[in-house]
Symmetry: C2
Subunit: 246 residues, 2 copies
C-alpha cells in the first residue's frame, strides 16, 4: 500500500510531539516540509530524504510529496502544530484525488491554541474560536465577520498569524472589532516561540493588547467575559458557576 | 519544589499522548482522575498511588490532588484530550490559590477537535469554533448565542458533549439553530470512540446530522460553506482560493 502521512509535529519541542508522530517520522523514508519545520526535526531523524520548499510553495511541496509516495516511498509531510489547523491535510487530500493509489493518513498534533493556552494557564477552558488574521487566502471581510461573531457570542478567541511584516496593524484592527462587544479590561494573553528557544508568555488587558506589536511567532488569546487573571496566569472557568460553589 | 501537573492524555490511545505527558506520568507518584480516564492509563503506569473519583466530583478530586502535592508527593491530574479544553486546568489554578507552595504546570494534549478532525480528514482546516452542548455549567441561552454566532460567521463548528441520557434532543436543537445560516447540504461529520475500541467516523449532511442520535462518546463537526466531501473524507480548505489556483 502506498502511504502518505500528514503529521502535526506540535510546537517544536520534540517531547510535545505525540508518540504516533514520532513513530511515523522514524519509519518513513521521505520527509517533506517548510524549511523552518524541517530544521526543527532534521537532527532527530537523519538519514532521510528531505523535500524542502519555502513559504507559499505549498502546492509544489504537496505535489512532490504525493509523487514520492506514488513512487512507493513511505513519505510524510510535516506541519507545525496540528496537521489540519491551517496545515497541509486539506490541500493534500484535495490534490490526492490525482493519486488514487496513495492512501493519505492524517496524524493530529498539538496546535498552538492548546500549547499556548497551557503556557498561559487555562486560556481556553471553555468554548473558543480560532481565527487566523492572515488575509493571504481569506478576504479581510470574512475575517472581520468572524471576529465580530466570536466577540458577540462571548467566545474565548485565539488569533493565529496576528501580524507579519506587511500586516503590522491587523492585531489592532482585530482588537478594535472585539472591543465593540468586550470590555477593555478583558483578560488577554500572548505567547511567543512556544516550545522553542525564547519561549515567553504574558497576560494583559484587551486595551493593552490593542497596542501590542505582535510578530509572526506570536499566538494571541482574548478571554471571554468570565476569564480572569490568577497570579500571572490567564484562566477561563469551565462554566458560569465556578467560584460560587464550594 | 512542590509540583502538581495537569496532563492532557489525548483521546485514549497511548501513542496519541505527547512525550511530555508520558514522562510526567512516568515520574510522578500520584495520579488523580475520573475513573474512565484512569482506566485508560492504569495498566501502563502501575505502582502509582491513584486518586479516583466519579463524574461531577471534580472539586473533591482537585482538592485531594492539591493536598497530595502539598504533602510533597509529585502528583498529576489526568484529563482526556487536552488539560485545558473543558478540562481541569482552570479549576486547579483557581483552587491552587489556597496552596501557595504548590506550583501547577499544565501539559497540553490532543483534544477531540484535533484527533476527530484528523480521522475525518481535515474537518478543521480553517477558522473554527468549539462549543460544548452540555448545559450543566453553562446556561442554554449562552450555548444558543454561541451556536448562532459561529454559524453566522461561517466557522467550522465542533460540538463536544452533543448528547447525554438527559439531553437527547440537544444536537437536533443545535442543528436547527445552525440551519438558520448554513445550508442543509453543508458537509458535516461525526466521530465516536476516538483512539479507542469501536472507533468510527462518518461524513453526512447537516440535514442528516439533525436526525442523528449522538451519544456521549460522539464528537460532531459542522463544516463551513467551503467544506467539501472528498471520497469518504470531510475537508475544509485552508482558504477561499483553493481549487482555483493551479
Amino acid at each position: 500500500m502506498k502511504k502518505l502521512f500528514v503529521v502535526g509535529i506540535g510546537p517544536g519541542d520534540e517531547n510535545k510531539m505525540t508518540g504516533e508522530a514520532k513513530e511515523v517520522l522514524a519509519r518513513c523514508q521521505v520527509i517533506a516540509g517548510y524549511q523552518v519545520y524541517v530544521d526543527l526535526i532534521k537532527d532527530r531523524f537523519p538519514q532521510k530524504e528531505y523535500i524542502v520548499t519555502g513559504m507559499r510553495q505549498e502546492r509544489e511541496r504537496c505535489l512532490l510529496a504525493l509523487r514520492s509516495a506514488d513512487a512507493g516511498k513511505h513519505t510524510a509531510v510535516v506541519c507545525s502544530g496540528d496537521a489540519g489547523v491551517y496545515g497541509m491535510a486539506g490541500i493534500l487530500l484535495e490534490m490526492g484525488i490525482q493519486f488514487p493509489e496513495v492512501e493519505i493518513q492524517i496524524v493530529a498534533g498539538v496546535s498552538a491554541v492548546l500549547s499556548g493556552s497551557a503556557l498561559l494557564g487555562a486560556a481556553v477552558g471553555h468554548d473558543f474560536a480560532v481565527i487566523s488574521l492572515s488575509d493571504l487566502l481569506t478576504p479581510w471581510e470574512t475575517i472581520e465577520k468572524r471576529l465580530l461573531g466570536a466577540a458577540m457570542a462571548d467566545f474565548v478567541i485565539c488569533l493565529y498569524n496576528p501580524a507579519s511584516r506587511k500586516r503590522k496593524d491587523y492585531l489592532m484592527r482585530a482588537c478594535d472589532l472585539i472591543l465593540r462587544y468586550q470590555k477593555p479590561e478583558t483578560v488577554c494573553g500572548y505567547v511567543r516561540n512556544i516550545g522553542r528557544e525564547g519561549e515567553e508568555c504574558h497576560v494583559l488587558s484587551l486595551k493593552e493588547l490593542r497596542d501590542f506589536q505582535a510578530d509572526m511567532f506570536t499566538t494571541v488569546f482574548v478571554g471571554n467575559s468570565m476569564t480572569r487573571r490568577i497570579g500571572d496566569k490567564m484562566v477561563t472557568p469551565r462554566g458560569y458557576e465556578l467560584g460560587e460553589k464550594k
